[in-house]
C-alpha cells in the first residue's frame, strides 16, 4: 500500500543523498552547475558516506510518519559520523536557515569538515541533536532517557549494526522493561543493518532474520523487518511499517493509560537492512565496507562526477540552493520538523527544581564531633522530600546501578518506587511501574538514561559505588565534550548538571574487598575542561546536604560528590556547613592547636574518612607532641587547590597561604589517589612541602583501621608524618614517632587477632 507521495519521498531522499555526498567532496560548484573540476573539490575530502543513505531513508520515513500522525518526534542518531545526512535533512526542512538565515548551501557544503565549519560528526552545534555518537554504544540508552516522563513524545533511535556490537547497546535493549506506558513516551528503535563496519562485517548483519526476530522478541520487542532489497518501493514499505508501529504504540499507550494494560507492554521496533553506501555504484564499493568513508578518491574526478550527477541535482534544487517546492510536501508541519523539536534543546524546557529547605533535614551538631549520622542517609531524607515535591512535575529521577538501599538512600523509596514494567516476583519491594527510581545493574544504562533525561530538560542524580563509576569513564569523557561544545552554541540553553553521588567508598567496604576500592573516577574528571568539572568531598552529613542542594541547582556542569554512607562523627552544624561549603576550604580552628602565631605544620584533609583520621591525628598530637602547633584545614571543593588560571574555583595565592602557609609542611590526608592532589597543586609554589596520604592500591577484606594502615593513612600515620616533616621536630621527634607507630601496630595486631577494630578506634571521640 504505497503512500500517495512515494515518488516525492524518493526525490526528497535523492536530494538528501546528493547533499550528503556533496558535503564530503565539494567546496564549490556545489550543485554541479558546471563541469566538475579539481578546484571544486575539498583538498581533504573528509567524512563517512556509508551510513548516510540509510539515515536519510529513516529520516524521510520519520518525516512522513510525523506528517501523517502529527506525532512530536525526537530522533537520536547512533551513527554520529553520518552527520552529512542529518545536515542534508536540516537544509531541506529549512531548520539550518531558520537558525542562520545568512547560511547558503555553499556555506553548508563547504563548511562541513572544514576548519571553522561543522565537525564531521553530529555534535551540539547541530540542531535536533542530543547525542554525538562518536564513541558508539549509547544511543539507545539516551533515547530511553529522553522518553521517560514525556508521555507525548516519540523518540526514534537509529542504532548502527556496528554500534549494536557494543555491550552498552546490547544491554540497552532491556530498557523497555523500565518504561512506563502511562507516564513516559515511547522509543522506536531502528536497527540499521548495512552489514559492515570500517572494514569488516558486523555481527548483527550476520544473523538471519529468524535469529534477529527471536532475539528481539525474547528481549520483549515486536520487530518488523524492512529489507530494501525485498521491495520495489522501499519508501512505501517503510511508511507502512512506521504507520503500523505507530498504531501499535498508540494502542499500547491508550490501553495502559485508561487502566486496561496487563502483562508486558511489547513495543515495536524496526530491523532495517539496506546496502552500505546505498546508491553508490557497486563498482566503487557500494554495498560493501569500501563505502564506509570517502569511497572515491579525488583523482577519480570523472567517476566522481558521474556518481554525483546520477542524483540529478538540477531536478531537485534551484540555483540558489533552495529545494524545489514539491520536496516540501513530504515534510511535517514547521513546528514538528525533526530539527526543531524543543526536547533537543532541553534547556528551553528546564525549570528550576523546587529544592526543599535544608533546615528540617540537617543534623544537630551541638559541638564538633558530638553527633553521629550517616551522610547519605541524611541526604536521602532530603532527596525523598524533593521526590515528593516533583511528583506532579515528574522532572527528577534517580538512576542507580548499585541500589539505593545499599547506599543508604532508601528513604527515597518511601517517596517513589523503582520503575519496572515486567511481571515481578511476589517478594519484590518498593516497585512501581511509574516509579522515578531506576535501578539496573548497568552503570552504562544509568549514565545513558540520565544524559538523555538531562539533555531534554529534566534533572537527575546518579548515586553509585565509587569504585564502579569508572565503568562510565568513556561516557563521561564524551558527555563533558558535549557540554563544552554546547556552551559555545548560542541557541543552546543551559541544562541541569549531571550529578554523581559516589558512596560506598573503598575505605568502608565491609562485605567486599579490594575490587570495591577505587577512587579513580575523580582522576578522570580532573582531565575535563575546568568550565565543566566540579569535585566535592563534603566531610559530614550537613556539608553533603549543602553540597547536594548546590549541585541540583546548578547547570551545565558535571558535579562529582563523594560522601560516606556509614554513620560517622559530625563536625559542622548547618550554618557552619553552609559557610564552609561556600568557601570550599577552611581552617578548623577547634581541631588544631594553633595560636595567633603561625602553625608549625598543617594537617589538611579532603573526604569523610580522611577528615576523621585527621581530626584524630591532631588530637593524638596534642597528647603525644604537646607544643607542636598544628593547623587543621578541611577541603570540600577539591579544585580550590588549583591555581586560579587552572580552575575558576582556584584560590588566589593569599587565600592559599592563609590555609596552607607558605613554607610549613602540609600533611594532606586525601580520600583518593594522592596523585590527584599532586596534579591540582601544580603551579603552587613549593608543592613538595605537601605530603599527600591517600589510597595506594593496598587493600583487601579487612577492618577499616587495617585498611587505613595499609595505605599509610591512619591517624597514627598522619600524626607520625606530621612530627617527621616538621623542622625542629623531625630530629627530636624520633621518640614520638616510635610511640605513635608502635601504638598503630599494636592496634593492628588487635584487629588481626580479634577480627575487628579495637574500641580505641571505633569508640574514639574527639574532644578539645
Amino acid at each position: 500500500m504505497p503512500t500517495p507521495n512515494t515518488e516525492t519521498t524518493r526525490r526528497y531522499r535523492r536530494a538528501c543523498d546528493y547533499l550528503s555526498a556533496a558535503m564530503i567532496y565539494l567546496r564549490d560548484n556545489v550543485l554541479l552547475r558546471e563541469q566538475l573540476r579539481e578546484e571544486h573539490l575539498k583538498p581533504r575530502p573528509l567524512g563517512h558516506w556509508g551510513t548516510c543513505p540509510g539515515i536519510n531513508f529513516v529520516y524521510s520515513g520519520l518525516n512522513g510518519l510525523v506528517r501523517r500522525r502529527r506525532q512530536r518526534t525526537l530522533l537520536v542518531t547512533g551513527p554520529g559520523h553520518g552527520a552529512p545526512a542529518i545536515h542534508a535533512n536540516l537544509w531541506l526542512e529549512g531548520t539550518h536557515t531558520e537558525l542562520d538565515p545568512t547560511m547558503s548551501l555553499t556555506d553548508l557544503i563547504r563548511g562541513f569538515s572544514w576548519p571553522g565549519g561543522f565537525p564531521s560528526h553530529l555534535s551540539p552545534e547541530v540542531p535536533g541533536v542530543i547525542h554525538e555518537g562518536g564513541e558508539l554504544g549509547y544511543a539507545l540508552a539516551t533515547a530511553f532517557g529522553a522518553a521517560f516522563d514525556d508521555p507525548d513524545l516519540l523518540v526514534a533511535c537509529i542504532v548502527g549494526d556496528g554500534e549494536a556490537e557494543t555491550g552498552p547497546t546490547a544491554g540497552s535493549w532491556h530498557a523497555n522493561k523500565f518504561l512506563d506506558p502511562v507516564t513516559c513516551g515511547a522509543v522506536l528503535p531502528v536497527l540499521h543493518l548495512n552489514g559492515a563496519k570500517i572494514s569488516s562485517p558486523t555481527v548483527y548483519a550476520s544473523m538471519s532474520d529468524e535469529e534477529l526476530v527471536a532475539y528481539f522478541h525474547g528481549a520483549g520487542w515486536s520487530p518488523y523487518v524492512v529489507d530494501v532489497a525485498d521491495t520495489a518501493d522501499p519508501d512505501a514499505l517503510l511508511a507502512e511499517t512506521f504507520d503500523l508501529a505507530h498504531s501499535e504504540i498508540s494502542a499500547i499507550q491508550r490501553r495502559w493509560r485508561c487502566g486496561e494494560g496487563e502483562g508486558r507492554p511489547i513495543w515495536p521496533m524496526v530491523l532495517l537492512r539496506s546496502p552500505k553506501g546505498w546508491g553508490l555504484p557497486t563498482e566503487y564499493g557500494g554495498g560493501t565496507f569500501h563505502a564506509h568513508q570517502v569511497p572515491l578518491d579525488a583523482d577519480q574526478l570523472t567517476e566522481l562526477e558521474a556518481w554525483l550527477r546520477s542524483y540529478r541535482p538540477e531536478e531537485l534544487f534551484h540555483e540558489d540552493g533552495r529545494p524545489h517546492d514539491d520536496l516540501r510536501e513530504v515534510l511535517p508541519a514547521e513546528e514538528l520538523r525533526l530539527g526543531r523539536v524543543p526536547q533537543a534543546n532541553g534547556g528551553q524546557l528546564r525549570q528550576d527544581l523546587p529544592l526543599p529547605e535544608l533546615e528540617k533535614f540537617a543534623v544537630e551538631v551541638p559541638e564538633p564531633g558530638r553527633a553521629t549520622a550517616s551522610a547519605t542517609g541524611t541526604t536521602g531524607e532530603w532527596l525523598a522530600e524533593l521526590m515528593r515535591a516533583t511528583e506532579q512535575r515528574r522532572d527528577f529521577r534517580v538512576m542507580c546501578p548499585d541500589e539505593l538501599e545499599s547506599n543508604k538512600l532508601d528513604a527515597i523509596l518511601e517517596a517513589t518506587g523503582r520503575a519496572f514494567s515486567w511481571p515481578l516476583t511476589e517478594y519484590s519491594e518498593h516497585m512501581s511501574r511509574d516509579g522515578r527510581v531506576l535501578e539496573v545493574l548497568s552503570e552504562h544504562l544509568c549514565q545513558g538514561w540520565l544524559q538523555g533525561y538531562l539533555l531534554t530538560g529534566r534533572h537527575g542524580l546518579f548515586p553509585c559505588y565509587e569504585a564502579f563509576a569508572s565503568i562510565v569513564d568513556g561516557m563521561v569523557n564524551q558527555y563533558a565534550k558535549f557540554l563544552k561544545m554546547a556552551g559555545e552554541v548560542p541557541w543552546r540553553e543551559p541544562v541541569a548538571s549531571l550529578n554523581y553521588l559516589l558512596s560506598s567508598e573503598g575505605w568502608r567496604q565491609e562485605h567486599n574487598g579490594y575490587s570495591h576500592q577505587g577512587p579513580g573516577f575523580l582522576n578522570n574528571l580532573l582531565t575535563k575542561k575546568s568550565s565543566v568539572s566540579r569535585i566535592y568531598l563534603p566531610p559530614d552529613a550537613n556539608s553533603l546536604l549543602v553540597t547536594m542542594r548546590h549541585c541540583l541547582a546548578s547547570t551545565d556542569r558535571i558535579n562529582l560528590v563523594v560522601a560516606g554512607k556509614n554513620p560517622g562523627p559530625q563536625w559542622l552544624d548547618l550554618a557552619e556547613a553552609q559557610r564552609h561549603c561556600r568557601a570550599g576550604v577552611g581552617t578548623w580552628e577547634w581541631a588544631g592547636t594553633e595560636t595567633d602565631s603561625d602553625a608549625d605544620v598543617v594537617l589538611a584533609c579532603a573526604g569523610g574518612i580522611p577528615t576523621v583520621e585527621t581530626v584524630a591525628a591532631a588530637w593524638l598530637l596534642r597528647r603525644h607532641a604537646p607544643g607542636l602547633r598544628v593547623r587543621v584545614v578541611n577541603v570540600v571543593d577539591l579544585l580550590t587547590l588549583s591555581t586560579p588560571d587552572g580552575h575558576p574555583h582556584g584560590m588566589d595565592s593569599e587565600e592559599f597561604a592563609e590555609c596552607f602557609g607558605t613554607d610549613v609542611p602540609v600533611v594532606f590526608a586525601f580520600h583518593g589517589y594522592p596523585s590527584a592532589v599532586h596534579e591540582v597543586l601544580h603551579g603552587r609554589p613549593e608543592p613538595s612541602r605537601f605530603h599527600v596520604h591517600g589510597y595506594l592500591e593496598e587493600g583487601t577484606t579487612t577492618t577499616p583501621f587495617d585498611l587505613l594502615v595499609s595505605n599509610r593513612m591512619s591517624r597514627y600515620d598522619l600524626a607520625a608524618d606530621a612530627v617527621r616533616r616538621t623542622p625542629g621536630w623531625s630530629s627530636r621527634g624520633g621518640g614520638i614517632v616510635q610511640e605513635l607507630i608502635g601504638k598503630r601496630d599494636e592496634l593492628r595486631d588487635y584487629a588481626y587477632r580479634e577480627g575487628k577494630d579495637s574500641e580505641e578506634i571505633t569508640d574514639w571521640e574527639w574532644s578539645a
Copy 2:
C-alpha cells in the same frame, strides 16, 4: 534418569552449603560439635550467602560431568562474592590442603573475610580462579578468552542474573560467533537466575522461559532450562542436562574437526532457576533478596544455630574437618579437579614467544628526519611475522575493536584472518574461522577475551583507538588489582603482559573530530601500582618496534604503548632506537643547539606528534632566536620522570639533572593531558619550571596544524614559550615571540581559507 550417586551428590552439596554459611559466621566450633555460643561467632560476619548454594549446585554438577566424561574443565565464576562456595568445594576436593597441608578447616572458616585471611571475594589467592568478579560484567568474555586456541578445554561460566544486566555481559553472548569449533575449546554458560540483586529483582529473572529461550536462541545458543522447583531431584536434572550439553558440544567438535561442519555451530547453555539463598528457611529470607549477604544477625543465635544444624554437619565431616569418604566418590580424578586445572595458573603453561628479529623490519634512517614511515605500519609487518611464527603454537592473538586496517596494522591480516564462525557476506575480506585476529566493535569484549587468554598462559595485543580505550578503564582497574595480588601469591607463575597499542591518536583524527580526541587512558593507568604499569610513547617507527618487542617479552605488566599510524618523519635508526628505548629518555644532541656549556632552555617531548613539533620548534629557534642554547630531550618511557621511589623506572636525581638541568626552564610537549606530566613530576625539585603543553580538550574536525594551535602545542607555540620562559630572553625576546605567533596565526588563517595545512607545515623537513 537419575545418576547413580545422586544421594551422595546431595550430601556433598549439603557439606558445601554448610561450609559456605559457616565461613560467613563462625570463628570457632566450626563443625558445631558444641552448642553455638556468641564467642564462636565472628565479630563482623561478612560475606554473601545468596549466591552460594547456586554456585555449589553448579560446581558439584560440573564435578559429576568431569568425573563421568573425564573432561578437563575450567570454571569461571561471575558472582565473585560467592567465594565461600568456591572455598567450600576447594576444601572438599582437597585442593586447599594440597597447596597448604597445614591448613585446618578452622583456619579456612575463620580466615574467610578475616584480617590477613581470605578476602570476601574470589581473587588470585584462590586456586582455580582467573576472574575476580567484583566488578560485574566480564565473566563470559573471560571464559571465551580462556577457550580460544585450547581445543580440549571446556570452560564453564556462571553468570549471575545481576551481572547479566550489564552491557558487557549482554554483548558477550555474541562471542559464540568468534569461536572456531576446530581450534578452540568450548564455553558452557550457566545463567544463574536466582531472581534478586542486593535488594531489587533482576531483569532476566523477570523474563519468562519463553522469552529467555527465544532471546538466547536468537543469539545463537541452544538453551536448556533447569528449574530446581520443577523437580524432586535437581542434582539428577542438572547431571542429565550437563551430559546432554556435553554430548552436543562433543558432536559439534567432532563434526567440525573432521571437516563436516556447516552453517552455524549452535552451542548449548543452561538457564538455571534456583531460589536466592536456597536452603535458608523462608522465614529468614530464603528465596528473597533478604538472603543476599548475611541473612541472620548475630543476635539471632538460636535461629542461626538451628539453620546451621539443618545441614547436619556431623554426618558430613570427621572431627578434624576431613569430609566423610563417600563425599569423595562424587569428585573427579585428582588431576581433573576444578581447583587444579593448569589453565587457571596460566603462567605454568606460558612459553616465551618466538619474537622475530627486528633488523629485517626496521626503517632505514640515514640521518634524523631523512626518512618517512608509519610507526604502526612498520610494526604491523613485524607482528605479521610473529603471527606466522606462532601459526602452529597458536598462542598469540590480536584483539581489536577499531579494526586493524584503520590502525594501519593490516599486514597482520596477510598472516592470519579475522575469526568469524557465522555465515559471511560475499564481499567480506580477510575472514577465516580459525583466524587469530578478533575484531568486534566492543572494547569490553576485546579486553575480556584478552584477559582470559593471557591468564591461561597465552600472549596478545590490544590495538585500539586511543580515545576509546577509556571504555575499559573499569576493567583495567580490576585487572591491575588481579596482577598485583597474583604477584603476591607464591604458586602463581608470571603471565604474559597485557599490551595496549593505542593508535589513531587525537592529534591526527582526519575523518573524525572532537569525540575521537582523548588521551586519558594514560592518566588512569598512572593510578595503578608501579609494579604493574608501564607507559611508553615511542617517537617513531623503529622505537615502536623496539618497544613492542620489549612489551611482548615481558610478564605481569600492563604496558601502554601510544604511537601514531600516519606516515611521519623518522629520527632513530634501529641501533639508536634500541639505545634510546633502553634508557627511556635521552638528549637528542643533533636536534638542539647546546654546546659544552649548559642549555638556556630544554625542549622536552613525549609522543610522536609532540616530538615532530619539538624538533621543528628547535629548528625555528635556530632561525628566530640565534644564540639561545636549546637542548632537546625525548622521553619514551614516561615513568622515568617519576622519582625512583615513585616508580621503579624513575631516574635518579643525577640522571634527571643531566636531561633537564636543575634550574633552566623546560618547555615540555606532551602527547596527552598536561596533568599527567605534572603528576609524575611530583617530588622533583622545582617542578614549576616545567611548562607542559598538551591536549587541553580543545578540538574539532580541522587540520592537524589548527588542532595543535588550538591546544597551544604547535611548533610556534613551543618556540615562543621557550623564548618567553628563558631568563634574559623573556624581556628582550618580545619581538621574537611576536614574530613566531604572527607566523603561526598566518598559517592558521591559511588552513581556514584553504581547508588544508600549508606546505610550510606538511612538507617541512628537519635539517641541522
